[in-house]
Amino acid sequence: MSYNTKMTALKTENLHIGYRSKKQNITIASNINITLQQGELVGLVGTNGIGKSTLLKTLTQVLAPLSGNVLIKEKNSSQYSSNRLARVLSLVLTEKLASKNLKVLELVALGRQPYTNWVGNLSKTDLPIINKALQLTNTVHLKHKRCFELSDGQLQNVMIARALAQDTDIMVLDEPTTHLDMYHKAYILKLLKKLSKETQKTILFSSHDINLSLQLCDKIIVMTKENVAIGTPKDLIQQGIFKTLFPKDLIIFDDLSARFRMST
């Protein structure tokens, strides 16, 4: 029953996503109805080019929806000012940092920008939040290093710390496990799981690591050409949705172990 008392963090109503151009609208996916609750870890999977990034961009207000609504904390996302939005929704993107010379502490502190004054001075209340973000991501020892000195895995950790410092109810990550080895993929996803439980944040990430996501996520969003489905990993496996995700000539989905393997 506690499921129902939790707040809805992110919800879409008949959302159509795509790109507008002068001549015509290019629809990428239509009739998307998904609901994410507070404290859930949600993975978004689908093949390359299916529109995962477009969906994330639309959910985070970078792109306008073609039609339909995105509700953030039960309020239409277009009603948020950019600063209000920055206080409820934080991002971890795939794009490279413009300056890799920033110290880790400075980078994480930039997460506090939506709350600082016109010149960006940190107040006394900001420092504990920054330290907490570093502790939760186990990056305290990296505090005084510069970003170019970090490994890819460490940098991803630090970027998550920055998003944490932004202190938002929702965190959206675009392919946070790309370029990482298997151990660090697991490490990052496990960290996201821990964060969603300990801080009651709604965490949505896109990923190609379906095997790992199925083991950790509360819910999975599967994008296929036909539709966008959402459900618990168990339900989705029962529906057989992963069997249709890829062409069957190379890899097949094994229901029992809940993972893809080479077809022999």
């Binding site: 985070t60 970078v62 000012s81 950019s82 600063n83 209000r84 939005l85 920055a86 206080r87 929704l89 934080s90 991002l91 993107l93 794009e95 490279k96 940092l97 413009a98 300056s99 010379n101 920033l102 400075e106 980078l107 930039l110 997460g111 920008q113 939506p114 600082t116 016109w118 010149v119 960006g120 001075n121 932004q166």
Partner: protein, 343 residues
Amino acid sequence: MSILKSNKAIFSFLIGALVLCFVLNICLGSVIIPFKAVISSLLGYKVEQQTWVTIVNQYRLPKAITAIIVGSGLGVSGLMMQTLFKNPLAGPFVLGITSGASLGVAIVIMGASLIGGIFTGLITSKWTIIIAASLGSFLVLLAVLLVAKKVQDTMAILIIGLMFGSISAAVVSVLSYFSPAEQLQQYFFWGLGSLGNLNWTELFILFIIYSVGIALSILSIKALNCFLLGENYAKSLGINVKQSRFIIIIATSILAGTITAFTGPIAFIGLAIPHITRQVFGSSNHKILLPAVLLFGAIIMLICDSIAQLPTSNYTLPINAITALVGSPIVIWLLLKKQKMIF
């Protein structure tokens, strides 16, 4: 806390150095004036020779203040361009502002001679040159801003700025091809840059516009820091990217355009000062960098001007040559010492 302390020490040192360079700059020149007399005339006390007072108050003091404005203004606009375009090679002039100013001046100096008649009389007026340079850089700025409004991609703005610069340079080449040697030389001398041409009225106007540019830069500190993460991150942090970019471009254009109009194109300072500052402070935080660049820019410009005067001789070297001669070794030395470019 240790970082804060050491920064404080560097800042106190820089302020001390600025005062020292300022006084030194005024003391040095083709005429030898005793140190005591310089200080007395600055403070308004009686000095044995009236000519000394005139030299110090009407020539050396405005020139030193111009040096401070030019060095700090170009340094800050270079810093903003490097951050905005995420490019360590950017400077205050990447948006085609100098080329615009050059075009304006070229049209007045060389174009007027082609048309001949009543226009030739205007050429000698200093204000004509200033207004032409301002108009030129303003027109290029306007074109860049119109583009910036339409184009989403910051890199596209950079390329378009460079293209505007190329077009202006091409027009200047065509003009100079048809111009007589005398006008060509006059244009050439303008292109060498000069700090010592301003009287107090001109300096006052320059200072007012400079203050507006610096104020806009200070207002942009928070946005500039967010741009260090990239534009999409800046947006996700609640920064209005388009508006901030607009303000940064305007501030740069005001600073670089006006300074170029009054002193001619001063090369190198805008590119080098931000690098020197980053290497010395080891930081990318604009709250530290901006005031530091102001100080470094002013100090280096004062030193360059002192050298250009060739103290005790009657010659003055072109300031543009000195800035590069003094600045380049400093940048190379810092890079060799730290082994790593900080950006």
